[in-house]
Symmetry: C2
């Protein structure tokens, strides 16, 4: 089934949003924790975290210019820090609810019942219930002219993870952490490891290190 | 288990790459198809596609300055178009193999056995075996000063998807398309829908539209 540019443009806006939000593949689901100068906390679900580099350890976030995400952006630019907290299966309902348009004076922590966790040496709230919590400091911010979205680049300065999730090679086992994947705007998925591959080399055939069908 | 900034910096580079590549959560796995002016095709696996907006329908890619991904970037800048093709479970081994550092004169299509598919009105090769194929035209390119990575913004001008995967609301069912999710650098996962949530509103409790445990 083919959609041309004109078909996509002709969709009504909700349908196009559902379609385009699903075409890139599975997405991360993170709760972004921030605080303003008055101590008011904010928590917002975002699916736009992307790896930028590991040395220095950088992640980027796309933050939309909507009213809901605007508070998160304002807090990051003001405080210079933010947390990323993986949504796990047990937190899907509360995590999704942070997308509701609460008045600025209401903290999504209070509204959803998720608990703020403060690390002594980090200035933004984390989510106590999240098994994987990251602390980032703002490194760069660009407003993208093309559609007014914001590219926020942060350095990972703190990572709080279950010790059992750290693999021999240093990678985190997100399946055992029960981190969910998001598709589209509203569909949360659990993942199961299918295949783990060896580092690819041109003169070698693909080598499967672990295969679910062999277990 | 806590990692401070100094702990992350002290990791050896492979360990830090595995760690930081896994901290953002699940990622998409896409094969990026391009062609140079001589007609030489290139195919590269990337996990950095991110939604930028639906009107116009924009996706961003982070392309690293490495030799492997450089050819993809050069082709995009030269031809102005590229394809994104979801890696499905049946293509994991071939898709992962495109990450090998093949000489420029070797097409990853030939090297891996994946088949180029050309649409009459689109200038970059798609992957015939992929169930979800997108055609994008280049809209913006920024080299990010912080680490030399490239932000490539493209508009979705073509989408070729299985008709059975298009939901009532327009979202694609990536689970039925057998699209995989990636974690870290090498671990491919299959997904199962866990919960689908209603649009969140501040005065309503979270509403589950579909729950795997209720089936």
């Amino acid at each position: 089934m083919q959609f041309q540019s004109s078909d996509i443009k002709a969709m009504d806006s909700r349908r196009r949003a559902a379609f385009i939000n699903s075409v890139s593949g599975f997405k991360s689901a993170n709760l972004v924790g921030t605080v303003n100068a008055k101590g008011q906390s904010n928590l917002a679900i975002m699916s736009s975290a992307v790896h930028l580099g590991s040395n220095p350890p950088l992640l980027a976030l796309i933050i939309r210019p909507s009213s809901e995400e605007h508070q998160t952006l304002a807090n990051i630019l003001d405080s210079g820090c933010y947390s990323l907290n993986h949504v796990s299966a047990s937190m899907v309902e509360q995590g999704h609810q942070t997308a509701a348009k609460y008045p600025e004076a209401i903290s999504e922590f209070d509204a959803t019942g998720l608990s703020p966790a403060w690390h002594s040496d980090f200035g933004a709230p984390m989510v106590a219930e999240a098994s994987i919590k990251l602390g980032l400091t703002l490194r760069e911010h660009h407003e993208l002219e093309i559609n007014g979205t914001n590219l926020v680049i942060g350095e990972v300065v703190l990572a709080d993870v279950p010790s059992g999730c750290v693999g021999e090679d240093g990678a985190l086992d997100l399946v055992s952490a029960d981190t969910v994947a998001l598709t589209g705007l509203d569909t949360y998925c659990r993942a199961a490891t299918f295949k783990r591959m060896a580092y690819a080399k041109p003169h070698l055939a693909p080598q499967v290190l672990w295969d679910s069908s062999a277990q």
